[in-house]
């Protein structure tokens, strides 16, 4: 161990804290950062600093944003009557790439799971309620996973809004495109049948 540079060890340690990166990959990445041109490596480092210093959360929808309001919330062409609730930034990115949703978003920051210490207070549910009240939102699309946690969160949101006049819809579940009926599990097949159109 002592034969190793402490600086290198430190770098490997920090890289291995990234999600999905083990000790071995961390070591490979560290070697790469040292072997590559100095500019390359410093660009990476600067991007991290810049992202951390200049990116914050949109005060409306909690999307990542450089300004108080994100690009979506400040876009006058977006339909402000419809809000799509999603779990995290990544889901927002996926929906935006599709360009199918013309309304706004609301990033919850997780799904209800008491076992993991995530209760209603941990998520941005009050913020959602306030937004809907303030803006007279007409439709809420729930774009959450069809898992126990996703279903619980969806139910909680529906219950929370039961005294407010708003249309609430949920993403349909069913057979994936290119999926074969033969290999679709029974529950999904049933749901696909019941939600057919």
């Amino acid at each position: 161990m002592n034969s190793q540079s402490e600086i290198l060890e430190n770098l490997i340690n920090n890289i291995s804290k990234l999600p999905g990166i083990g000790k071995k990959s961390a070591r490979r990445i560290a070697y790469h950062l040292i072997n590559t041109s100095k500019d390359n490596a410093l660009n990476t480092a600067n991007s991290i600093i810049e992202a951390r210093e200049r990116l914050g959360l949109c005060i409306e929808c909690f999307n990542l944003s450089e300004d108080k309001l994100c690009n979506i919330c400040s876009d006058p062409l977006r339909n402000r009557d419809i809000i799509l609730v999603i779990e995290n930034f990544h889901d927002l990115y996926l929906f935006e790439k599709l360009k199918i949703h013309k309304g706004l978003y609301h990033v919850l920051g997780g799904l209800l799971s008491p076992l993991d210490g995530i209760g209603p207070g941990t998520l941005r549910l009050n913020e959602l309620l306030n937004r809907i009240r303030m803006n007279n939102t007409s439709e809420l699309i729930i774009g959450l996973n069809h898992s126990v946690e996703g279903d619980s969160t969806a139910l909680y949101i529906s219950n929370m809004l039961k005294d407010i006049s708003i249309k609430i819809t949920r993403l349909a579940s069913g057979i994936p495109v290119g999926g074969e009926i033969e290999y679709t599990d029974e529950i999904t097949l049933k749901q696909a049948f019941e939600n057919r159109k």
Binding site: L115, V148, S152, D185, E186, I187
Partner: protein
């Protein structure tokens, strides 16, 4: 389903064992502690990916060794070869089925149906309701993927709700928003579980009644009924009602006490509750009949007989009854029996029987 070949490497007290089976009745005899049960344990792990003795794969490793490996070659009723290999080292399990790695164990479940009867299972008839639910849940999970998935989700919902109730009790507060969320889901999943269990019982009980009468020589008639705090004619609405009424009690207890995870089966023998009034012999016979019915039921649903593993049962059952059991099993059902009394094997068709003697991890044809 038939097991043709079994290979064990560092499994329990076996160094390396390679054994082939060409008969439907396979008997392992030998003194206690020689490794008879280890053999049928290995077979059960091949089909179910867990052991009836332990949830810890480390315990199955030969003492002092780094890994274990087991493999089995089966043939199904259409003579298709099925090959399963399980290896375990460094706390990692690797399962391959038909030379493809199994990533999700639940995807494999049910491919190689196994039914076992081991002495520990006497708790099914004598023990608390949990044991009878486990009996049904395990059986249905093996043959009904939707049931397995419902049960998995339902258990998760109960765990999440228990955490809420536990926290509310600790904080001495009564906020019901989160309870409502989980209660809605308990109604949804719980009623489906109930429906599936009742539907199962209807089919299962037919086999069971006939088998119990047959093996008891007409002495015992039996029945199985579903027991629940809910009104079974309107289970779903009654469940919703009871969940709502009992919110405070559940918070007070800090535990989820309403739902199909509290339901039970009532076993009746000659009109009496077996659990309260049954003799030791009646319990034993009831259990045997349950297991034999399990075999017949699986066959009726999947069109494939499971492999049957019998651990040390015959020690307490008289010859006449064991002859009847043998008669039921003589129907193309591969049966592995461990016993210290090889005389028992006389009951089976001798042309279809093979006896192995097990001595300290060595298995030899008698």
């Amino acid at each position: 389903m038939k097991l043709n070949k079994l290979i064990l490497d560092n499994f329990r007290n076996y160094n390396d064992l390679d054994i082939t089976f060409d008969k439907d009745v396979v008997c392992f005899t030998g003194l206690n502690g020689q490794g008879k049960t280890n053999l049928i344990e290995a077979i059960s792990v091949l089909g179910l990916l867990n052991s009836f003795r332990t949830n810890n794969y480390d315990e199955m490793k030969k003492f002092g060794e780094e890994y274990f490996f087991i493999s089995g070659e089966f043939t199904d009723k259409n003579d298709n070869r099925l090959s399963i290999k399980i290896s375990y080292s460094d706390k990692k399990k690797k399962v391959t089925f038909q030379d493809k790695k199994i990533l999700k164990f639940s995807d494999f479940w049910g491919n190689i149906p196994i039914v076992y009867l081991i002495p520990d299972e006497s708790v099914i008839t004598t023990g608390p309701p949990l044991e009878r639910r486990k009996f049904v849940d395990k059986l249905l999970s093996m043959i009904d993927r939707e049931y397995f998935s419902l049960l998995k989700n339902y258990s998760k919902i109960i765990k999440q709700k228990n955490k809420i109730l536990f926290d509310l009790k600790k904080e001495n507060s009564f906020q019901t928003e989160m309870i409502d969320v989980y209660n809605d889901q308990i109604v949804l999943y719980g009623s489906k579980l109930f429906e599936k269990r009742v539907e199962f019982l209807k089919g299962f009980e037919k086999f069971f009644k006939d088998i119990l009468i047959f093996i008891s020589d007409g002495l015992f008639g039996g029945s199985i009924s579903y027991s629940s705090e809910m009104d079974q004619k309107s289970y779903s609405s009654d469940l919703r009602e009871k969940l709502s009424v009992n919110k405070r009690t559940e918070v007070y207890r800090g535990l989820s006490i309403i739902g199909p995870h509290k339901d039970d089966l009532i076993f009746d023998i000659n009109g009496n509750d077996l659990r309260k009034y049954g003799s030791k012999g009646q319990h034993k016979l009831f259990l045997v009949a349950l297991k034999l019915s399990e075999i017949k039921y699986i066959k009726s649903i999947t069109d494939e007989y499971p492999v049957f593993l019998l651990d040390d049962l015959y020690s307490e059952i008289d010859e006449k009854k064991s002859a009847k059991i043998a008669k039921i099993l003589d129907e193309d059902i591969q049966t592995f029996i461990t016993t210290s009394n090889s005389g028992i094997i006389k009951q089976f068709d001798q042309n279809n029987t093979k006896i192995f003697n097990v001595i300290n991890g060595a298995v030899n044809l008698v």
